[in-house]
Symmetry: C2
Subunit: 243 residues, 2 copies
């Protein structure tokens, strides 16, 4: 009986690179970076650890693979009207990157770390630079803009990933609780931290609006880097021309 043609409940489907990568991504999302091991991945697939090595060279290549699966989930910037719409395009691309990193927190430190970027990673960056170049940004400025925007998203995701609360209401409780655990000297030594905790306890901390505030601040700055013709809606220069 060929297992490929049988209608069994398939806890034991035929192995392939895609099946291995999909299971690895799922495991990482559930258990985090530390929970992803070749051995537990193998048992989840109903197979002995060494069976994985026929589809993936080693753990490093496995991680390369799932990182590119994550890149594939990031929505590229809308390039339908590059000249006037670069700003909303960059804004929603940054938001999509942040959402993706929130879905896969283990990937934050890995997205830019891999030595051999996968095709989805390359396509994503090409689309981003293309959007900016066609909007009239010079080559140098395009590099600056991608650098500062991505740095902000990564850094924000890093901070967001590990703060011990998920919602604005929860943040108030956590803050108040933390403060009560501290000894009395704490208030005298760190008055401004006490202020933060107190105010956050009252008003809460909203990740979404915090992210948007910083993002818009940066986009305002980017706007100033654009050449002057942009404000009068002139056509973009030929690709690769201005420098």
């Amino acid at each position: 009986m060929n297992p490929a043609t049988t209608g069994s409940p398939a806890p034991r489907q035929r192995l392939s690179r895609d099946v291995v990568l999909a299971a690895a991504l799922d495991l990482a999302d559930r258990e985090g970076d530390g929970g992803l091991s070749m051995r537990t991945l193998a048992t989840e697939l109903g197979v002995v650890p060494m069976a994985l090595y026929k589809h993936v060279a080693n753990k490093d290549e496995l991680i390369d693979g799932i990182v590119d699966l994550v890149w594939a989930q990031v929505e590229p910037p809308d390039t339908s009207d590059d000249v006037t719409h670069w700003r909303p395009a960059m804004r929603s691309r940054a938001a999509s990157l942040r959402r993706t990193l929130r879905r896969h927190p283990w990937a934050v430190g890995l997205l830019e770390t891999r030595m051999r970027p996968g095709p989805a990673n390359l396509a994503q960056h090409d689309a981003m630079m293309g959007c900016l170049r066609r909007a009239g940004f010079s080559f140098r400025t395009t590099v600056h803009v991608t650098s500062v925007l991505d740095a902000y998203v990564y850094g924000f995701a890093l901070q967001e990933q590990t703060l011990p609360f998920d919602t604005a209401e929860e943040s108030g409780d956590v803050a108040r609780q933390k403060l009560e655990q501290q000894p009395a000297e704490f208030a005298a030594a760190f008055p401004y931290l006490v202020e933060v905790v107190t105010e956050l306890g009252a008003a809460g901390y909203d990740y979404d609006s915090e992210f948007a505030t910083g993002l818009d601040l940066i986009l305002d700055g980017v706007e100033h880097l654009r050449p002057a013709w942009s404000t009068v809606d002139a056509p973009p220069p030929a690709a690769g021309a201005s420098r």
Copy 2:
């Protein structure tokens, strides 16, 4: 013969929490995140693995400890003249944080991640918020500014940490080399990436100026968040007053 009073070359000094943490920090700097293990740390200290557990509860607490040693290396903002000098103070604090992260690349993903922040971490954040509050920023704005500035530094350090070159000249070589390895379809599929590689090959990539460009862009944006009285050099409001 008491080893504490003997003048031996001290490969085997008396163990203490500080000695363990210092050796762990050194090991992490040399071997990276993955190279820091309780077992190799023990052998470097000339001791059996279990000896460490008298000075440190477990590996997690060890990492808490060395992360706070890293925080202690970040120069806090200069608070000598908060009203007019908040910008250079923030600028050089961000630069110091980046330099520190460059010295301890393994720490980038860990500085904000620890659940129990150490004293150096708390002091650093208190100094930062204090500098901004006394410069007249409202509480909410102070939170926004620290969020966006730190996010940028973390994200930049993350990108810098893993790019495969250290100097501007080297970046050109690496870029040219990478490009030559690619198949011919590459140029057609990712024209804007090819442009980056080509231009970088010609002009090089300077981390320092790239960092400064993004930092100044953000600081320009922060300037706009300041209350209007700041430009006429009025005194700051009483701490905790404005909201």
